[in-house]
Every structure is written in structure tokens, then in C-alpha cells.
């Protein structure tokens, strides 16, 4: 990126891509002492041209690169493309497959939120203890993934028209056991971290995003719900089995970093409830509709919208009767939230010390922003 002009009295700090907290991106900060006047995001360090790659793969072959777009949130990323593809192929999904999909998606959401949560702890300056604990707790989910799908992450578990495999024997019990354990652990997180006055000090009233600004700047996911606007794709356009599950949209009205962290925290709790419900009430039946892997989709266009851990991901799929899609447009949540981050310095008072906290409350995953 060509760097824009800077006001002479400010100092420009290049933050990343080799910085302990920047991730795979670069941010330019125009600072005056500790105060940040302007944030410029420089994306594209992990651009892999996934949209172009998909044009050269078969419809189901595309699931593999899509899976690699967000490693911690694999299931939620790939279900968008899979739903679009099965609309294009005209496949029906059996009910049991839908429930399994919901289970895997919720586990993936917990996985993603736990990661964000650990990074948030590290960004506020905890020695990485909390980050390590979240990593260890994710291990339980990864073990469940391994048992169900065969891979710990980037499992391309969803096929158009169903899922890859059914539950192994005794899996539902182990899900319930894992849920029970994680609930125990979350008491510790709440008491040691969220209610810690030093943590509250760092997160309260930082980077306030008013609801009208959140809408105007195109925020999505926990960022939008942290500003008190109840938009969730699972409710807006119920996919998988979300119409049958008991859940509600979680919002917080404080609009600050703490609100976004709490939205994630409560969403984890709700996902655990959903996991338990699915494990106990899953209906019997088929898990996939047979189809040829070389099926050609008739000409048309299809849009699917799903809720990732980071927000809404829309996939626009054009097909034209060949085995490959004609074009796939992916509208990732992180790209939208990065724009919000770029404008936050104008909306509220942000200091250099706040930058890692704010960027992790936005929780961008640069691999899906860059595609």
C-alpha cells in the first residue's frame, strides 16, 4: 500500500506485520504521544486469491480451500459455501445431518470465541496464562472434532446434501461430559478475568461504538451485538437446525470493548447449552443425500448467509452448467470489521496502549479478510 500523507506534528508508527500483537497485517498509527489520531489498516499480507482458486475447482473441491480461510472457525466458514453449493445442486439435507451441522458449527464457534478470549486476555497484559488455559480448553473441542470428523481442524466435514460421517458410538455422552467440564471452567474465567477490576479498568469505556455508527460502518457479529443491535444470521435466515433449537440473540448495551467481550462470553455459554440440547435431542435418520462428486450445477446464482464466530459471512455463488462455479464472491466478516477498526480512532479516544485491546475486541481473522 502506498502510505498516505501524515500531518507533520504527528508520529507515524508502523505496527506489524512483525509485532507481537499485530497478526498477519500492518497498521499505521498516527500518534501524538499516547493518543492515536488516525488508524490506517494495510491488509493483504495473506492474500491467496481464494475466489480465483474456487473458479478452477469443482463444486465440492472448493470446500477444501474455503476451509483454510479461518482455521479456528472452520465449520462456520465452510457451511456458507456448502449451503450455497447445495442450493445450486438442488440437494435436500436430511434432518439429522442438519442437527449434526449445528453441533459442529456451535463447537467451532466456541473454539473461535475461546481463542478471541485468550487473545483479549493477552492484549490487556496478562502474562499469557489465560491464553494458555483457553488453548487447553479448546483441546476438549478439538478432541471431539477429531472423534467425529477425523481431523482436529480444517476438517472438510460438510458435504453438499449432508455431512461426512454420523456420530461414533458414545459420542453424545462425551459431548455432554465436555459441556459439563467447560461450564465449570467458565466460572474460573468469569471470576479471574472478566470480574477482575484491573481487566474492567482496561476494557470499560474504551473504543465506544455507538449503534448508529456500528450500522453505518457495516459492523457485524459480536461487534454489532456489542453495540446493542440484535442481528444474527442464525435468526435472520435460519440455516442448519437453528430454527428448532432453543436460543436467543445476545446483546450488550455498553458499546465498549467490555461489551464485546461479554457478548462472546455469553455466546459461549449459549453454544454450550445448544451443544447439550443437540446431544440429547438429536433425531434419528439419514445423514446424507447421495450425489455424484462430479455433478454439474445448472445456470443460476445463489446466496447463502451464515453467522461466523466473527460475524456474517455471505457467499454469492454463480454457476453456469460446468463442474466448476463461474464465480464465487465471499463477503467475509473480518473485512467489514476491519473498516470499523480503521474508523474507531475518529469516534472515540484511543491510546497506543488501547490498540491491542481494541483490535482483539474486533477480533479480525486476517486470513478471511484477505482471502
Amino acid at each position: 500500500m502506498t502510505e498516505p500523507e501524515i500531518t507533520p506534528e504527528l508520529m507515524r508508527i508502523s505496527w506489524g506485520p512483525q509485532h507481537p500483537m499485530s497478526g498477519q497485517t500492518r497498521i499505521l498509527l498516527d500518534t501524538d504521544g499516547e493518543k492515536v489520531h488516525r488508524i490506517i489498516a494495510d491488509l493483504g499480507f495473506t492474500h491467496r486469491g481464494i475466489e480465483k482458486v474456487l473458479e478452477n475447482r469443482s463444486l465440492i473441491g472448493g470446500i477444501v480451500p474455503i476451509d483454510r480461510m479461518a482455521m479456528v472457525d472452520t465449520a462456520n466458514i465452510s457451511i456458507g459455501y456448502v449451503t450455497a453449493a447445495e442450493k445450486a445442486l438442488g440437494l435436500e439435507v436430511p434432518e439429522r445431518a442438519n442437527w449434526i451441522r449445528s453441533l459442529v458449527c456451535e463447537m467451532s464457534r466456541i473454539n473461535s470465541h475461546l481463542y478471541a478470549f485468550g487473545l483479549q486476555a493477552e492484549a490487556t497484559g496478562y502474562f499469557p496464562a489465560v491464553f494458555l488455559w483457553t488453548t487447553i480448553d479448546r483441546e476438549i473441542l478439538l478432541d471431539l472434532f477429531e472423534e467425529l470428523t477425523g481431523a482436529r481442524w480444517s476438517f472438510n466435514f460438510f458435504l453438499p446434501g449432508g455431512v461426512y460421517k454420523d456420530f461414533p458410538e458414545g459420542f453424545a455422552d462425551r459431548v455432554v461430559e465436555g459441556v459439563h467440564y467447560l461450564r465449570n471452567r467458565f466460572k474460573d474465567y468469569w471470576n479471574a478475568m472478566i470480574e477482575n477490576p484491573m481487566f474492567e479498568m482496561r476494557c470499560d469505556n474504551v473504543a465506544i461504538l455507538e449503534p448508529k455508527d456500528a450500522l453505518r460502518l457495516g459492523a457485524t457479529g459480536p461487534v454489532l451485538r456489542g453495540s446493542g443491535i440484535p442481528v444474527d444470521m442464525r435468526n435472520e435466515e435460519p440455516y442448519a437446525a437453528y430454527a428448532d433449537l432453543d436460543w436467543e440473540i445476545i446483546t450488550e448495551d455498553a458499546c465498549d470493548v467490555m461489551a464485546r467481550t461479554k457478548v462472546r462470553f455469553h455466546e459461549i455459554g449459549q453454544s454450550l447449552n445448544m451443544m447439550e440440547q443437540i446431544a440429547k435431542e438429536i433425531p434419528e435418520g439419514e445423514i446424507k443425500t447421495r450425489f455424484s462428486p462430479f455433478a454439474r450445477a445448472p445456470e443460476g446464482e445463489h446466496i447463502s448467509r451464515v453467522e461466523n464466530g466473527r460475524g456474517e459471512m455471505s457467499t454469492h455463488l454463480w454457476t453456469n452448467g460446468t463442474p466448476n462455479p463461474y464465480r464465487v464472491k465471499i463477503l467475509p466478516p473480518s473485512l467489514r470489521n476491519m473498516y470499523v477498526f480503521e474508523r474507531l480512532a475518529e469516534l472515540s479516544h484511543i491510546t497506543v496502549a488501547d490498540i491491542p485491546v481494541v483490535i482483539n475486541s474486533i477480533d479480525p481473522w486476517y486470513l478471511d479478510a484477505d482471502r
Binding site: 483441546e139 480444517s154 472438510n156
Partner: protein, 156 residues
């Protein structure tokens, strides 16, 4: 007062962690048991294969190629692990279950050209003791109410 209580409570929560058991599995000497469906290296069965080539066509990474094998009449899949992404489509769509997954994950080599596995090589699964000579035991994770623990399953 409640503020002070909140400030001191994390200390009380974190201090007992010192006494918990660690979550580290010391890899070269011990290894976790993988689950039944684990996607490790493939195993190929000559007697089941009908050389239909579906695996090669369905492979999204174009890692599978049909090659001739010595002592066999038809062509059989060879897998290039430089590009394989372990997506499992070849296993899923094989009409005769001629390709299956094993739990071998030790694929690291000095020379990347040796990562292209011929059908003969795919049909043999080496023993774990040959791959990792220092391996002593296989362990397994289990959950108690408050922590995750590891126990030995078997000696290697």
C-alpha cells in the same frame, strides 16, 4: 470492600493452578492415542482396487495419480504428500474402500521428492517403533470434573 474482594479473588483462583498436573505430552517418548477416524497417512489395498480412477478425479489438490505397479496388471493410485490436504474425499468416494486412513502422522523427510508415495509404499504401514525409535508409550486424555488428565494406554 467488594472491590477488594474482587481484586483478591483471582489470586485465590490462580494459585491452586500451580499444583495441577501439566497438560504437556512429551512427544518423542509418548504419543496420544488418536481416535478411530483420525486422518493420518493413507493405506492402500491392492486386492480391493478396481482402478476406476475416481480418487484421482475427485482429489481437489490433484495429488493422486494413477501409476503402474510391479506385479500388478492395472494402474493404481499414488499420492503426492507435498500437496495432499487430507480432505478425505478419496476415502469417502472410493466405491470399494480401497483407500483408508491410518494414524501415522510422521511424514517428515529430508528430501521432498520422497514424499510421492507409490502404491506399493502406500499398501504398507510401518510400525510406530520404526518411525520414532524413542517412543515408549501411548497416552490418552480423559476428563475429571475440574481438569483434564492423561493416562497411559499401552507401552510401545
Amino acid at each position: 470492600m467488594s472491590w477488594i474482594k474482587k481484586l483478591l479473588r483471582p489470586l485465590g483462583i490462580v494459585a491452586p493452578y500451580i499444583l495441577r498436573n501439566s497438560q504437556t505430552v512429551a512427544y518423542p517418548t509418548e504419543r496420544l492415542m488418536f481416535k478411530e477416524r483420525f486422518r493420518g497417512r493413507h493405506q492402500f489395498f491392492f486386492e480391493r482396487c478396481i482402478s476406476c480412477g475416481i480418487c484421482a478425479r475427485v482429489c481437489p489438490c490433484a495429488s493422486i495419480e494413477l501409476v503402474e505397479a510391479e506385479g500388478h496388471e492395472k494402474t493404481y493410485p499414488s499420492i503426492d504428500y507435498n500437496t495432499c490436504s487430507f480432505c478425505g474425499y478419496c476415502v469417502e468416494f472410493c466405491p470399494k474402500q480401497a483407500i483408508e486412513f491410518t494414524d501415522v502422522v510422521e511424514l517428515a523427510v529430508d528430501d521432498r521428492s520422497t514424499l510421492k508415495y507409490s502404491p506399493e509404499r502406500l499398501s504398507e504401514v510401518p510400525d510406530i517403533k520404526d518411525l520414532v525409535p524413542r517412543m515408549k508409550r501411548r497416552t490418552e486424555a480423559y476428563l475429571t470434573d475440574k481438569e483434564m488428565k492423561y493416562r497411559k494406554v499401552k507401552d510401545v
